[in-house]
């Protein structure tokens, strides 16, 4: 169970009263920043899995493929019943990630907004995720939707948004569901070395088995027509993508670092600026497909 944003602010405030308490809170912030980044990594892998399924299984996409991938990520995370609290926190963190990315971009320059990008705007992606969440489980996510200032009518309408999306995905994936004795090709997970300063992210991704869990979920559920690789690696950009020609999902440690720093600098706002190892200048479309 994590504290809320408000509680975090209070903690920091009180932490200033004493050095030892402050150090403790610093540790807490660091731990929460890592949680936040890991939650986003989980969501990002599910988003890329959306692209993977569309392209490997040749699924029809009538709207934006990026929106479809976001929707699938939410559906998979909502249906991850292993630890409901954990998956709820992961979903909320991921939506908040888009929200704060948007706010950060807005503060920097409005020029960053791209109305012709294949992705919806970060702020739209945040709202769309929350809409899917409250649409699926109004009792669990009303508080979140309220925090996003979504009115009651909007929240109610989200139940259709969610059920339409879930029905479409289920209908399209149904012919490819794995059954006992009928499974598809395997997914290989590889964690390449991280650059100096990023080892902690690689280690954490590995110890939480973020890529492995995503791979296990896909291969258990769906019949993949060819072998796939999930690769964790260091990249020049804070990004993740599915590549059809490589039969691979690439997840960059740089993205973990960016989300970690987003939490520390823009959400908690208490970190020193020096923690930002890389400024990609990318505000929109942290995920993309090839």
């Amino acid at each position: 169970m994590k504290f809320t944003r408000a509680a975090a602010a209070a903690l920091i405030c009180c932490g200033l009263l004493g050095t030892s308490a402050f150090a403790q809170d610093d540790e807490q912030v660091a731990a929460d920043a890592m949680d936040f980044a890991m939650h986003d990594a989980e969501y990002t892998m599910y988003h890329e899995i959306g692209h993977l399924l569309v392209n490997e299984l040749d699924l029809p996409v009538l709207g934006k493929e990026e929106d479809a991938a976001d929707a699938l990520a939410v559906i998979l995370m909502l249906n991850d019943t292993a630890d409901l609290d954990e998956s709820a926190n992961a979903l909320i963190d991921s939506a908040d990630g888009w929200y704060f990315n948007a706010v950060k971009a807005d503060r920097a320059t409005v020029e960053d907004l791209s109305y012709y990008d294949s992705h919806s705007l970060d702020i739209q992606r945040a709202y769309a995720m929350v809409c899917m969440m409250v649409g699926a489980k109004p009792e669990d996510y009303k508080e979140t939707a309220d925090a996003y200032d979504m009115d009651a009518d909007g929240q109610a309408e989200c139940s259709y948004t969610y059920s339409d999306a879930e029905r479409a995905w289920n209908k399209l994936l149904e012919p490819f569901l794995a059954t006992e004795g009928h499974t598809g090709e395997a997914i290989t997970v590889v964690y390449e070395d991280a650059a100096p300063g990023f080892e902690q992210y690689k280690d954490e991704l590995q110890s939480r088995a973020i890529l492995d869990n995503a791979a296990a979920l896909v291969s258990a559920k769906f019949v993949l027509p060819r072998p796939i690789t999930f690769l964790g690696t260091q990249c020049d950009t804070a990004n993740a993508w599915y590549s059809n020609s490589d039969a691979q999902i690439t997840y960059c440690y740089t993205l973990t670092g960016d989300m970690h720093d987003l939490y520390v600098n823009d959400i908690i706002g208490s970190g020193d600026e020096g923690t930002s190892e890389e400024d990609t200048g990318e505000s929109d479309g942290a995920e993309e497909s090839e």
């Binding site: 944003r5 009538l62 709207g63 493929e65 908040d96 012709y116 294949s118 309220d146 999306a165």
Partner: protein, 297 residues
């Protein structure tokens, strides 16, 4: 479980664009013809959009992504496949129509616009142009350049078009052919009266409603008879009503397109081409509306 962290953040994304002036301007006969063409073409796009919703509903099509984007993509795809100068003109007019309406009505992007079912008007404009250049780079590079879509994005628009085309071919291919049993469609033009009469007459005279009805009759086999009603609604809009298997076109919408383009004409040379529209960020028609972008915190 905890709630979101966003409560403490008071800054919300907002883009302010100065609204264009909508003063009535005297128009020549040639201008009126251009205005009517623009309004009819935008109406045509909207009708194909509603047909998109109709097909999703009647054929129970699975929609990945927003259904509203899907309906727009279906409209664009339908027009692109015609491959005629008229259809290309309709697409250019429709894209520009979304830019103009974004300018007139979405001068401030509100929260509800960002979590609504529809993409922003500006995004809808760009998506049309993206699929155009994605379907035929050499033919549509000029318009994509006018919309200041960078070359990387123009390149990846080909992927977008590939996906839309593959998807619609797959889902509609067999139904969109000429070998269906056809669909029963009844078209009714209700009286408009009063100030809407001219717009209503222009809508009917354009023939777009009958054209779309005829295409649905010939190209799709929908078992339920469909009603196409043109009427005064009290708002500038168009609908597909799944409960009544009905496509409704409001005369107010035709009027709205006429007004939008009429107000825009002094700034243009009455050519069909959108002027330097930028990316929607700096949509400053130099001579007229003086739109500007500022940032609100």
């Amino acid at each position: 479980m905890r709630a979101s962290r966003i409560r403490l953040v008071l800054v919300l994304l907002a883009v302010i664009l100065g609204a264009g002036s909508v003063a009535a301007q005297p128009t020549s006969k040639a201008q009126r013809a251009t205005i009517n063409r623009f309004a009819a073409n935008n109406s045509l796009f909207v009708l194909y959009h509603e047909i998109g919703h109709m097909l999703v509903h009647q054929l129970n099509l699975p929609v990945l992504g927003k259904e509203e984007d899907a309906a727009d993509n279906m409209a664009t795809w339908t027009l692109l496949r015609k491959g005629t100068p008229e259809a290309d003109q309709a697409l250019a007019d429709a894209a520009y129509g979304w830019l103009l309406s974004g300018q007139a009505y979405n001068d401030t992007i509100k929260d509800e616009d960002l979590y609504g079912n529809h993409s922003l008007d500006r995004q809808r404009a760009f998506q049309i142009v993206c699929l155009m250049v994605g379907s035929n780079e050499s033919a549509f590079r000029p318009i994509a350049n006018e919309y200041a879509i960078d070359s990387d994005r123009q390149g990846s628009c080909a992927d977008d078009y590939y996906t839309v085309n593959r998807s619609l071919e797959g889902l509609l291919g067999s139904r969109a052919g000429k070998n269906g049993h056809g669909t029963k469609v009844t078209v009714t033009y209700h009286d408009a009266g009063g100030q809407l009469k001219k717009a209503a007459d222009a809508f009917r005279a354009s023939g777009v409603f009958d054209q779309v009805a005829e295409e649905v009759r010939a190209n799709y086999s929908i078992s339920t008879p469909l009603k196409f009603n043109a009427e005064r609604c009290g708002e500038a809009n168009a609908f597909y009503d799944p409960d009544n298997d009905e496509v409704i076109f409001c005369y107010e919408l035709m009027q709205d397109y006429i007004d939008l383009y009429s107000a825009d004409i002094p700034a243009s040379d009455v050519s069909a081409e959108p002027r330097a529209t930028g990316t929607g960020k700096s949509k400053n028609a130099p001579t007229s509306t003086g739109t500007s972008v500022s940032q609100k915190n």
